[in-house]
Amino acid sequence: MNREATWNDGLRSPELAPRFSDAKLPRENVSTQMSTGIHTPNVKLPFNKTTEPSDPIFRQIRDLIYKVSGIFQLEEKLYLLTDGCARRMKQLGVRSPREYRDLLTTHSGREAELRQLLNEITIGETCLFRSQSQLDAMRKVILPELAAEKSNQLVKRLRVWSAGCSTGEESYTLAMNILEETDSQLKDWTIEILATDLNDRSLETAKTGIYGDYALRNTNDYYKQKYLLPLDEKKFQVRPEVKKLVTFSRLNLQDDANMRFMKGMDLIFCCNVLIYFDGRSKSKVIEHFFSDLNFGGYFFLGSSESLLRLNDKFHLVHFPGTIAYWKPSLKSGRL
């Protein structure tokens, strides 16, 4: 316990803290990782004696990754981390996990190495309907709550922001799920889904709305038939009525001036994007999200991501199978 505290504590001092500045990351890397899930890399190395997950060093590295990125590697997925470390160790010619741990904590190149390791363990990969529990929370709990809160407003509007939307999978998934509610709880509402990313190429792909089997592996037939058009045997395109709801635009989350324009949001989804930001940039982005949200609005991160207590104004709330951050409504009196 003490040993762990010592080497982790070192990271908190400014000169030792690794800096994951988004600006330093190669853009290509960021784009593929934005709005994506954490996915098992295809390359699987056999474990050997030195890289078994049971080695406590890997738990220390897991804790380190959590402290700098907010990503928590579950015990059952610790092999992702172990594999990633093994690949880096091989590339660097490092022999023992302990030696590699030292590279990540005390060596002068630790920031760069941590970034390399993060890239190893988080292969950009995404699909439609990636997080069913978030969608359930939105439709079954949040929308009824918002509908009640806005019940006396003349013009009812729902504004959703998919921040770091990459190639649009999440944005269209949100659109389809919201469309499902427009005959009932969102009848006569104005719906706006704003999808932003830094990478122009990703945005171009997103705008076409064309997806292959792999991106659609979680999409059931009901949604396929209702909201997608088959282009050929392997490709589908999102129907115009879904596209119509989503506006794609380029935005750098670190651009303070533009971030201030993103007002009046009810929901913000920013999944697996902030893990690449250092603590300061991250808390700045989160601060923007907080002020961009309406009172009573919600902010979702990736399924194994957390805010690392970077912001105490948000309330961490649980829904079945997922957590979210809530900007308390004025009515709740808990702001």
């Binding site: 928590f72 015990e75 059952e76 649980h318 079945p320």
Partner: protein
């Protein structure tokens, strides 16, 4: 709750005596758990357990689960005690005993779900306690394990009414206690308390059973009641509830129970709740496995 409902519950619970239920060693074991540790003798526990081979065997298998931290199955209860400590083994034994307690009718409540929730809550409460310097992990485990005792009573003594309440909860996706109150006029907290009093369980456990859904009304052991309340909510939000989607938003830190727990445990403030939630997810699979291992083969449970 009015007196006529209370007496109706007591009357029905009194009838439970006739049921083939709790293994004889359960209550003496529970009593031992409540005794000061220095007065509990290892031989006494081993003697109690030796009356029931099934329980002893289950206990040994359970002790080897990653949730209890032994790398391999201990060969004897004494061996388990040496590795895990007497109190920890007692909690395992009590879990096994309880598994044999009631043959819960599947039509009303799926026993697998019930045990997953109870054992899950026990586990969460223990892990929660482990984060708090002055909390008693084993006590919290027992409180979590027994908190929904009333659901077993409902299945046996009020099966028709409870069946309706349970269906309503599933259909409307509302918390079970809310459906019970709306349908029957009382909840598993009331029936659980009646049985717990009849069994003469310790006062703090009775308080947990009676008030885990209204912590503010607990007279004694408020922080234990609060801890179980929070553990129960966490279980229901992380896949160890009653097998249906509960349309619920849970703000643990702003729940009154959080403030109550904080009064006694200042270090609650330093818990990283998101991380704690992720850590619990790791235990969910283990809990399910343990339930099929310990309770899967109990007669009347399939």
């Amino acid at each position: 709750m009015n007196t006529s409902v209370t007496s109706k519950i007591r009357e029905r619970v009194a009838g439970i005596e006739a049921m083939p239920c709790i293994p004889a060693v359960f209550l003496p074991l529970l009593e031992l758990l409540n005794a000061p540790p220095e007065r509990v003798k290892l031989e006494e526990v081993v003697r109690l357990v030796s009356y029931d081979n099934t329980i002893a065997a289950q206990c040994l298998r359970m002790a080897s689960s990653p949730l209890f931290g032994l790398a391999k199955t201990p060969e004897s209860i004494t061996g388990a005690v040496i590795s895990l400590g007497l109190r920890r083994v007692q909690t395992i034994l009590l879990t096994c005993c309880l598994g044999q307690a009631f043959p819960v009718k599947k039509s009303v409540l799926d026993p697998t779900m019930f045990w997953r929730h109870s054992l899950g809550c026990a586990m969460v409460c223990r892990k929660f306690s482990d984060k708090l310097a002055t909390a008693d992990g084993d006590k919290s485990y027992m409180a979590g394990l027994l908190h929904d005792l009333g659901l077993m009573v409902n299945c046996v003594a009020f099966s028709a009414e409870f069946g309706l309440a349970s269906r309503r909860a599933h259909q409307e996706q509302i918390p079970l206690d809310q459906a019970e109150r709306a349908t029957m006029g009382f909840t598993h907290c009331d029936t659980g308390r009646a049985l717990a009093e009849k069994w003469r369980l310790a006062d703090d456990i009775i308080e947990v059973i009676a008030h885990h859904h209204d912590v503010e009304h607990a007279q004694k052991a408020q922080s234990l009641v609060a801890l179980v309340h929070l553990g129960d909510l966490l279980c229901r939000m992380r896949g160890l509830g009653y097998g249906y989607y509960e349309r619920n938003k849970v703000d643990l830190v702003h729940d009154p129970a959080w403030a109550i727990l904080m009064k006694e445990h200042r270090d609650l403030e330093s818990i990283d709740l998101a991380r704690f939630t992720f850590e619990l997810d790791e235990a969910v699979g283990e809990v399910c496995e343990l339930v099929s291992m310990v309770f899967g083969a109990v007669p009347g449970h399939n």
